[in-house]
Symmetry: C2
Subunit: 142 residues, 2 copies
DNA sequence: TTCTATGCAAACGATTTGCAGGGAG
DNA sequence: CTCCCTGCAAATCGTTTGCATAGAA
């Protein structure tokens, strides 16, 4: 099922290949990302990192996540009003967020194919997947 | 086409009906909202209001928009990274935002019916329309 | 040695809040 | 005369940035 990098080293080697440097902080951020739940905020990563490396600054977490996104291993999604969440690109999907409990439902990419086609045909609009969340009410809250 | 309130008084009467007070500031905000483009940020409204009423504070603009949303005349939408935009509920629609130029394409509600049905069937998820923006590239930027 | 990446602090943009006074009903 | 609404200032939240220095290659 998972098609992307699964180990910190795998991810870090992508940075190295780009000419970037592999540092203790970056390793810690990547480890926190892999260890966490699929959708993690920068703050959650920072907290997890801080457990082992209290000196790593939030700014570094943000900068590292930025880089990882540029390299293409990571995607950030806006789930609603709160902070962005980050996740590996290993399992492409859309997000449906419950506005009541904040729960996230992962939606297969194909579910939006029809909409994408319609937007293309009617408005010449190329829907870019995965970066936006759908909002509504989940089963239990509705 | 437009089915909602079209004049400041119409909007303000909804507030009054709720027991709220109608003040100079609130009237100014409503007028700015009606005068503006369909999608306006709080800041744009504040600027427009300031032209005639320099004493009206940004906080009041936010508070008034909040109230109007509670009453159901106004909706705010997150178009992307920037500030929220507000618009009257007179012409329900979805929003597709170009991540490149920031342009907004208004998409008919029906365009998401299929998706909504699928989310309901597959995930028990009730898609709530109009509050989220779809992102992608518009015709000219793609 | 050479530069990139880091920590720190401060700035930032959007929005919210506590408070005491002003004004609508 | 009552309270709601307001202006103001300050706080908050998520995120970014300038700077001098540590540290990877």
């Amino acid at each position: 099922m998972n098609v992307g990098p699964r180990s910190p080293d795998e991810v870090l080697s992508l940075l190295r290949a780009r000419g970037d440097r592999v540092t203790t902080s970056r390793r810690a951020v990547v480890e926190a990302l892999l260890a966490g739940d699929h959708h993690v905020t920068a703050d959650e990563i920072a907290a997890r990192v801080a457990a082992d490396h209290p000196e790593v600054h939030r700014a570094t977490v943000y900068r590292t996540l930025d880089r990882l996104e540029e390299v293409g291993v990571v995607t950030h999604v806006h789930l609603g009003h709160g902070p962005s969440t980050f996740h590996l690109n290993d399992r492409p999907h859309h997000h449906a967020v419950c506005s009541s409990c904040g729960g996230v439902v992962e939606v297969p990419l194909a579910a939006l194919d029809g909409l994408a086609e319609r937007l293309r045909a009617d408005h010449g609009f190329e829907l870019s997947t995965q970066h936006f969340a759908l909002s509504g009410r989940c089963r239990t809250c509705a």
